[in-house]
């Protein structure tokens, strides 16, 4: 069963979709409640998120810090632009590696899909080069999303 899709769109977008059996309200909460975020937004085995500050309101800021417990780590900072509980989140984020990457604008939609949820995350990078760099480097921790099906590009 393939529940997740990842594809590029145009030169600057990355689209991720995922279906969940839980309703939109629960999936939305799992994306905005720090105690819940810390349980799943972790990437590869062994990584944890000791710092999860999240002010889920328009203009609110967030900061996620990850560590592998062996001295490696990085963090993401961002701002919320719009929140429509429980259907839509618009936010801006950047990775600090430690220099900040260009801003990634992300719109996440949570739509009812039967008893469950269809989540669609649409990322917009400033340009194709930034998107390529994100795919090639920033994603090694598997945090924010991306994957290009080569067939989709060809």
């Amino acid at each position: 069963m393939s529940k997740m899709t990842l594809k590029t769109e145009g030169d600057t977008h990355v689209i991720v979709t995922r279906r969940f059996t839980a309703p939109p309200e629960a999936v939305y909460r799992a994306h905005t409640d720090p105690k819940l975020i810390q349980k799943w937004l972790l990437g590869p085995a062994g990584w944890t998120m000791p710092v999860c500050i999240n002010e889920a309101k328009a203009g609110g800021r967030f900061r996620y810090e990850w560590t592998n417990g062996k001295g490696s780590g990085f963090h993401i900072t961002g701002e919320y632009v719009e929140l429509d509980p429980y259907s839509r989140i618009v936010h801006i984020e950047r990775m600090h590696l430690p220099d900040p990457t260009p801003d990634n604008h992300i719109e996440t939609r949570f739509e009812a899909d039967g008893a469950g949820t269809l989540m669609t995350m649409r990322m917009t990078l400033p340009d194709g080069k930034t998107r390529a760099a994100m795919l090639a480097t920033g994603m090694e921790h598997g945090m924010e999303a991306s994957y290009v099906r080569l067939e989709g590009m060809l």
Binding site: D11, R18, A26, A30, G43, G128, K129, L135, S146, Y147
Partner: protein, 110 residues
Amino acid sequence: MYSLDAAFSALADPTRRAILGRLARGEATVNELAEPFEMTQPAISQHLKVLEDAGLIVRRVEGTKRPRRLAKAGIEAMDQWLAMLRKALETNYDRLDEVLTGMEKHKKGE
């Protein structure tokens, strides 16, 4: 020498993606590749050089022609890398499924 950074940078350009799209259908000469684009042959050659340096295409010598084709190794390596990224992301969402199940049980007071 294959480099993932070079490969992804090479793919950041729409003309180069279109060239790869053409080569996915089979080997082609520079003239054949230049045809669908309103570009000069030197401009196309420059794009081909970027793709070649990135390990995504290879050239063959045939008389005065230098037909290009997709490089299997480069494209497979990139596929593998992308599969790894996809796996990391799927791991996160599989964990989220468990979190959501836990929330549901909590709600029911189990």
